[in-house]
Subunit: 193 residues, 2 copies
């Protein structure tokens, strides 16, 4: 009962979380690898060095296909689209239980041990954090506005390809706002010092 029987003996791909994330992205909209890295940032950070080879494997498996797009001033790009087979395994995967989310945040380690140093450094860290999340939030709100202008009512239609991304953008802005609120709350606590 140990051996999983795979459907092909050569070039077997481990369909991992990132692989499905890439399929989910190209399902909404045809994308280049370069663009995928940026879109992914919303909930699954990955470097291009991980994305490009994985896209090649997904194409080999025929879950995606690409066309070459020549550009005027820039290097050509490969625009990937989801194939019917890709759509099928992605749909099936959605019905499996999602893995627990993973978060790794160095800033919090530093706050954890901040008592060892100074409240000055604490304030510094918090102000930088506020700046970081404020920038993120600004960008996020811009993207929300862009989507609203382009798709309006579709964004609230669960059958629209845009629905998921819009909901997730909304979620991210809420969380980022809450991160900022918390920073201010901590800064208040540091004032007394």
């Amino acid at each position: 009962m140990k051996r999983e029987v795979k459907n092909c003996i050569f070039a077997e791909i481990e369909m991992n979380s990132l692989a499905y994330a890439l399929l989910a992205m190209v399902a909404r909209k045809d994308c280049s690898g370069y663009e995928l890295v940026q879109l992914l940032e919303l909930f699954w950070q990955a470097k291009h060095s991980q994305v490009y080879p994985l896209l090649a494997k997904l194409e080999q498996k025929q879950y995606v296909a690409h066309r070459l797009v020549k550009q005027n001033g820039r290097p050509d790009k490969k625009i990937y689209r989801l194939t019917e087979q890709g759509r099928e395994i992605l749909s099936a995967w959605i019905h499996e239980e999602p893995a627990v989310p993973v978060v790794r945040d160095e800033f919090l380690t530093k706050i954890y041990a901040i008592w060892l140093t100074s409240t000055k450094r604490a304030r510094e860290l918090l102000h930088e954090r506020i700046q970081y999340f404020t920038d993120m939030l600004t960008d996020r709100l811009l993207k929300i506005r862009e989507m609203e202008e382009r798709w309006s009512d579709d964004l609230y239609d669960p059958h629209s390809p845009q629905f998921g991304r819009y909901m997730i953008l909304q979620r991210k802005t809420r969380l980022e706002q809450e991160e900022i609120n918390w920073c201010h709350w901590v800064l208040e606590r540091l004032k007394k010092d």
Copy 2:
């Protein structure tokens, strides 16, 4: 200008983010490896298979030291404490700029592509997510209450070893509450369907 000169030629440890996280944890309170895995969950998930060998390396570097504690009904444990050298490099590290946070969340990939399947599955995913974060939140609030009963005023003193953990617990409850709020907001949007 390529080669970084290291201070020792043998048994060199790559002091990575997890290593500092472990130091930060034992700085607050002496801990076993088993306990560290659990405490770490708050902002840096790691398996014991990563933690135990790393603790051994940190001890070899003399950043931590352990004592054996015999237990009545359970296996003996190694309780680690931070050494003076450990405290020094941890303090120094706090003054470096933190790496950007990393989040990887399969649930969001599924929501991203939910338009491919059914709103029934969407509701299912959201209800499970609410359950997950409600459980997390309950546990988190319990831990907050435990800390408040045990340390009361210390928790608002930035020089207390407990300060950081308390602030970070507060942050996590805020974010988890916001995750739940967002789920309900999305569920409202799915009702019309």
